[in-house]
């Protein structure tokens, strides 16, 4: 593959188990084996430069774990993550530091992600110092001021503390901090779900503007399908840690292939009152400690056959959509 076509981020067969066993003594006394929770189950996807890839799913589907795996805050059990052809897990020293600089994260709760004892200017300047991106104190101050203005705050806000800002303004500070490392890739874990809709609109617009300006690539994690539709170029749908469908955004909404995706789209409240018909939803997401056999969606699926109960579905490609379902052709 030539240089230009290589995806910026390539995730292959990524799996992550968490040990949820009881303490050793309890296990011996109660004669129980170790138990594991499969948070991420053989997930593969690619993100191209300049695009927004969104991961959607319900709570417990592994969205946030994937975000943490990608920035190496959690280590995978198996599988590989390559960023611009290099692996974060095997890099050391300067190469590791440089990879880390190029990918930054925006968290869900701007009340928890900003240190309340630090003035905003210091918060935003921290990555600049950490990666040695400026030569003098004056240059740092100038950069911080520019960044704050870029995200819609004022340069004077650098002296204030996080508690002096509203939720939306704090999320702007978090974005400015992420940008101060001059990254090309931002992992955004539910960046607007703690915000009101009118503030959410401001932040989403800001994120789009910054993407156009700096050519940023986003991994956008959300449970809100309408936000995802607004932001994403490609969408991956997660169910119990597995990627069940990976499609271009428009295709996913126009022509969803996996029964779970259809169910999810049916469930969204229709605020525009288009009067679309919807199917009643069955059941709830099962426990990831003891997931159903075969296709994990089979107990809730209307199309499930005997095969679905025993064999894990393979990923097939239909009209450019990658979908993991045995019965995909029966749906269409």
């Amino acid at each position: 593959m030539n240089q230009a076509k290589r995806p910026l981020l390539e995730v292959k067969d990524l799996t992550c188990h968490f040990d949820v066993s009881k303490p050793l003594l309890n296990r011996i006394l109660e004669r129980e084996p170790k138990s594991f929770l499969t948070a991420v189950d053989e997930v593969s996807f690619e993100v191209n430069k300049g695009e927004t890839f969104a991961l959607v799913g319900e709570s417990g589907s592994g969205k946030s774990t994937i975000a943490k795996l990608i920035v190496d805050l959690v280590h995978p059990s198996s599988g590989k993550i390559e960023f611009d052809g290099q692996s974060l897990a095997t890099s050391r020293g300067q190469a590791f530091k440089n990879l880390r600089r190029r990918m930054q994260m925006i968290f869900q709760d701007p009340f928890a992600s900003l240190n309340p004892r630090w003035p905003v200017g210091e918060l935003v300047a921290e990555p600049i110092y950490a990666f040695g991106l400026a030569k003098s104190r004056a240059e740092v101050n100038r950069t911080v001021e520019e960044l704050l203005e870029k995200v819609g705050l004022s340069g004077r806000d650098a002296a204030k503390f996080p508690h002096e800002f509203s939720g939306g303004q704090r999320q702007r500070i978090a974005i400015a901090r992420a940008l101060s490392a001059q990254p090309d890739f931002l992992v955004c874990d539910e960046p607007t779900s703690a915000l009101d809709v009118s503030v959410q609109a401001q932040i989403l617009n800001l994120m789009k503007d910054l993407q156009d300006e700096f050519g940023l690539t986003y991994l956008f994690i959300s449970h809100d399908m309408s936000v995802v539709k607004h932001m994403a170029d490609r969408i991956g749908v997660l169910y119990l840690g597995a990627l069940v469908e990976n499609a271009a955004a428009e295709e996913l909404f126009k022509n969803p292939k996996h029964p779970y995706t259809r169910m999810l789209l049916d469930a969204i409240p229709d605020h525009e009152m288009t009067g679309r018909k919807r199917q009643a939803i069955k059941g709830e997401i099962p426990s990831p400690i003891d997931p159903p056999s075969g296709c994990t969606f089979h107990p809730r699926c209307a199309l499930a056959t005997g095969e679905c109960k025993v064999k894990r579905p393979e990923v097939v490609v239909r009209e450019g959509t990658r979908v993991a379902c045995w019965e995909v052709d029966r749906l269409a």
Binding site: G167, D196, V197, L204, M273
Partner: protein, 325 residues
């Protein structure tokens, strides 16, 4: 729908601070009819939850109702003594809270909690109350209700817990249910189920619901009418369809435009500049004037009351004969 069940008139709720007085609700008025679902939307801090708390008499100290009236049919309930209000609560007005885990007691079984509530309000013996409890759980869609009734709250999933909370609210056969963000803590597929349960229950039991939420999608799915709140005031009230399709108040228009759409793609969302004022810095005149695009001279001087238009009620001078100038 003719008969008014709940009527709130010029409700003012204040929080005295050491030196100042914060007016959290400032002249809120609306009616809820029998069997109707009224949605109350607004952003955080608009006073949605506070309105619910004031109606059911659960305002937290030092908050108090400074003026205004709340009528439940022909009984005035905003000044009832504690004991009278306690009898009303759970019996004629019930409440569903946002987080189902904190509204259930973790050390009692579902049966114990339901039976206690049922026997407080209805003249039933222990055995009948237990049967009634199982019947209620069955109605809200809990599978194998007779078996699960003796489980503890932690043995239920989030969606199931919220069903239990709905059953608990229905236990006293209330006429009005105040549901404060009942689906906010839930996943979207479970949310759809809970909205269906809530709608069905109200239809079956003939209860009216005041549904407080910030999610316009939930409002559009569930409600008959909707009140839009801004900075402790009602900005607009009308039929859901009117508010969604043809919002009149500039704030409602901005709010509707800021929601990402599933039906069509826009490159940019409409954004309302700025944010909602803090309670100690509400502008004089119309509270929305610093953010409004059609603001005029009058908006800075006089505060608009709800004006009746042919599509509902709007608190905006644009709809007055004098205009904004």
């Amino acid at each position: 729908m003719s008969d008014v069940l709940l009527s709130v008139r010029d409700l003012v709720v204040e929080f005295p601070k050491r030196k100042t007085l914060l007016t959290a609700l400032d002249g809120v008025s609306f009616d809820i009819h029998r069997g109707e679902i009224l949605g109350v939307v607004g952003e955080s801090g608009a006073g949605k939850s506070l309105t619910g708390a004031a109606i059911i008499g659960l305002l937290e100290q030092p908050g108090r109702i400074a003026s205004g009236e709340i009528w439940l049919e022909d009984q005035r309930i905003d000044q009832l003594p504690y004991e009278k209000m306690r009898q009303l609560r759970g019996k004629r007005i019930a409440m569903i809270f946002q987080d189902p885990l904190t509204s259930l007691n973790p050390i009692f079984t579902i049966a114990e909690q339901l039976v206690e509530t049922i026997r407080t309000h209805l003249p039933l013996n222990a055995k009948q109350a237990r049967e009634r409890a199982i019947q209620l759980l069955d109605e809200v869609g809990i599978p194998a209700a007779a078996k699960r009734v003796d489980d503890y709250p932690h043995q239920f999933s989030g969606g199931m817990r919220q069903r239990v909370v709905i059953a608990l609210a229905l236990a006293g056969e209330p006429e009005l249910i105040i549901a404060d963000e009942p689906t906010t803590a839930l996943d979207v597929s479970v949310q759809a189920q809970i909205i269906d349960v809530l709608k069905r229950m109200c239809a079956d039991h003939g209860a009216a619901v005041m549904l407080v939420t910030h999610d316009m999608g939930v409002i559009a799915e569930a409600c008959d009418r909707v009140a839009v709140m801004y900075a402790g005031r009602v900005a607009e009230i009308g039929q859901v369809r009117q508010i969604v399709k043809q919002p009149q108040h500039p704030y409602t228009q901005g709010l509707m435009g800021s929601i990402p759409s599933l039906a069509h793609q826009r490159h940019r969302l409409i954004q309302i500049p700025g944010s909602m004022p803090r309670l100690d810095a509400i502008p004089t005149g119309c509270a929305f004037n610093p953010r409004c695009t059609s603001v005029g001279e009058r908006c800075y001087k006089e505060r608009p009351d709800l004006l009746v238009t042919n599509q509902g009620e709007v608190a905006c001078w644009l709809f007055d004969q004098g205009g904004v100038a």
